[in-house]
Symmetry: C3
């Protein structure tokens, strides 16, 4: 199975919870996961920025095979470039576009 998490909450607490839930999914032996992805946009981009609050968690999740996708519109709006992101984070044309594409491909959607 495949699941995409939508990281958009502004509060660090809520971002932390979202990342924990995504990570816990990869540790749940009762579901056979082929892919777990996180699409981040708006203020939810913070943990994906190098040195940002929560970025160590993103780094360790990337090592566990979870993919992270940052919305390009958000980067533009916040005056960030790809070089400001944690190594390994991808960029996507738009958060809404990627969330649509992945669900169309059969991904479950979870918005913590």
């Amino acid at each position: 199975m495949q699941t995409v998490f939508h990281l958009i909450a502004a509060e660090p607490d809520q971002q932390r919870t979202a990342l924990t839930i995504a990570e816990n999914l990869t540790k749940d032996d009762s579901v056979d996961m082929d892919d777990v992805a996180v699409v981040a946009q708006a203020d939810g981009i913070e943990p994906l920025t190098a040195g940002g609050e929560g970025s160590e968690t993103v780094e360790s999740m990337l090592k566990r095979g979870i993919s992270f996708k940052a919305c390009s519109n958000t980067l533009d709006l916040k005056d960030l470039s790809e070089s400001d992101l944690v190594d390994g984070v991808e960029t996507v044309s738009s958060g809404g576009g990627e969330l649509t594409r992945l669900q169309d491909d059969g991904y479950a959607y979870i918005r913590p």
Copy 2:
């Protein structure tokens, strides 16, 4: 592809972000969208009311072909009638019912 956005947040900032993400999806040339709809309920109904905060954005999005659906239960609860809504906004029997129906029809779901 088809996507339904769930507009339910109470904060004007969050409502604005939700509408922007929906509008950005229609501008993303990398996804071939057949329909983008917004189902609003609870305090998320505000931008769909005539003269409400954010209603100009809803008006311009309607002109771009994005459809807006207001939950009838919410209208009852807030003592609003169809005539209080922005011209062109539809009403649906229940927000949950419409979100279920659209996903059953293959729509992706995004809750900003």
Copy 3:
């Protein structure tokens, strides 16, 4: 049709709204529902705990045939056991796992 609601918000007001939307779906004659389930995790677990705020609503919804599933990781984190939950509430290995499984089975997902 089948729908799973994701109960994760911390605010009692938002939890109340989420439960009302789930209950309203079962009263909407325009959609033919086979199942309505609620997966609760993080602070959204509160109404599923015996005597917790909102627990009377959960009790009455259980009687109407709506199923409630509590995330085991959340129980561990909050030092709760199954005996602390409202009678009839099930536990699931992880909230993310159950939400993935149900969507994979064709459930619509709604996150109020």
